[in-house]
């Protein structure tokens, strides 16, 4: 990645990461966030992750890739099961890699 673009990105990322981490800690104690805001925020993690996940397994070069040859899509199902059963990042990622390799050999 070219250096100027990289620097801009890092500075931007640092600012937007630092502020939500520090501000409540430094200012709260006296004030609480409005209930609706807290509720909205509580949905963000699940929403972000789902929004990232769907295109990463269903799109290829900008168009839908619904096919038995889509290894990621097929591997998604057993991986989801491992995630649900273990709730462990380590087991899910290693399991996912094994499923992916098996499926790409089989199909």
């Amino acid at each position: 990645m070219e250096i100027v673009k990289f620097m801009l990105m890092i500075v931007g990322m640092v600012i937007v990461t630092f502020i939500p981490r520090v501000l409540p800690l430094a200012l709260l104690g006296k004030k609480e966030l409005p209930e609706k805001v807290v509720l909205w925020l509580s949905f963000i993690p699940a929403a972000v992750l789902a929004a990232l996940l769907a295109p990463s397994i269903l799109l290829k070069n900008g168009s839908l890739y619904l096919s038995l040859e889509n290894t990621s899509l097929i591997a998604f199902f057993p991986t989801l099961l491992v995630a649900y059963k273990t709730k462990s990042i380590f087991y899910t990622v290693s399991g996912g890699l094994i499923f992916y390799l098996l499926i790409s050999f089989l199909f």
């Binding site: 801009l8 990461t17 520090v22 800690l25 509720l39 909205w40 972000v48 397994i57 990042i89 996912g96």
Partner: protein, 242 residues
């Protein structure tokens, strides 16, 4: 002579501080976090170098940003050729949850000198928060406990991403293949860990479809941001009506 004595006194003060039992138990409690960071950090390092960052840039991102999921997301977006603005907005959204973590930690870290907060805040992660929540109550010096915990975990994150990044320089893994599935697999488990209610399932499913829809209709990775914001509003709406 006097200067030397002063030095000795200062040294003793420092050792006393480093021997602080709260600091020490924080460091100790960070070890399982580091074990968890190792595979993710190494995977992040490998992916980042594979998708076009240098090992130094990859490590620098871990040093300055210190936010695993946001870093992985940014790598995915860099590879997709996203604009810097889109990457920054996305990072903001992914890390908005820190507002919540920071707000609940503030209950335990009250009335400290102001210069403490940037350091304590920088060290907030999902993992350090989870450990602190179950252990911080019993600590005598809560800020030192959290510093020990957070900083040790931080070193673990920087170290493991550097290992992944610099290893990739020597071992060419090539792109494509199973490595492409590391991120989706990680999103799957993080998502499953996030979901604890029916409305969260609805939000996630809606967000997934919205993200696909926007990806097919709008250029430049804005699909994720749009889908996330809309889906979170849907969640508020559902919860408000039930």
């Amino acid at each position: 002579m006097q200067q030397r004595e002063e030095k000795i006194v200062n040294k003793k003060k420092l050792t006393a501080r480093l021997n602080d039992p709260s600091l020490k138990s924080g460091v100790k409690d960070a070890l399982p976090i580091i074990l968890g960071y190792l595979p993710i950090g190494i995977a992040y390092g490998m992916l980042a170098v594979n998708k076009g960052l240098t090992p130094l840039q990859t490590t620098a991102m871990s040093i300055f940003v210190f936010a695993g999921s946001a870093q992985l997301v940014s790598i995915e977006m860099i590879a997709a050729g996203a604009a810097v603005a889109a990457i920054v907005v996305m990072t903001f959204l992914v890390n908005l949850r820190h507002l919540l973590l920071s707000a609940s930690l503030s209950l335990h870290l009250r009335n400290l000198p102001l210069y403490y907060y940037p350091f304590l805040g920088f060290l907030i992660t999902d993992e350090s928060f989870a450990v602190a929540m179950s252990k911080i109550e019993s600590q005598k010096n809560k800020q030192r406990y959290f510093l020990g915990l957070g900083f040790t975990a931080y070193l673990g994150w920087v170290f493991s991403s550097a290992v992944g990044a610099f290893l990739t320089e020597f071992i060419d893994l090539g792109s494509g293949g199973a490595l492409d599935f590391v991120l989706p697999a990680m999103f799957v488990v993080l998502l499953v860990m996030q979901i604890s209610s029916r409305s969260e399932i609805i939000v996630a499913v809606f967000s997934a479809f919205a993200s696909l829809f926007f990806a097919l209709t709008i250029n430049g990775s804005w699909n994720i941001i749009l889908a996330t914001v809309l889906a979170a509003f849907l969640g508020v709406y559902i919860d408000g009506n039930s």
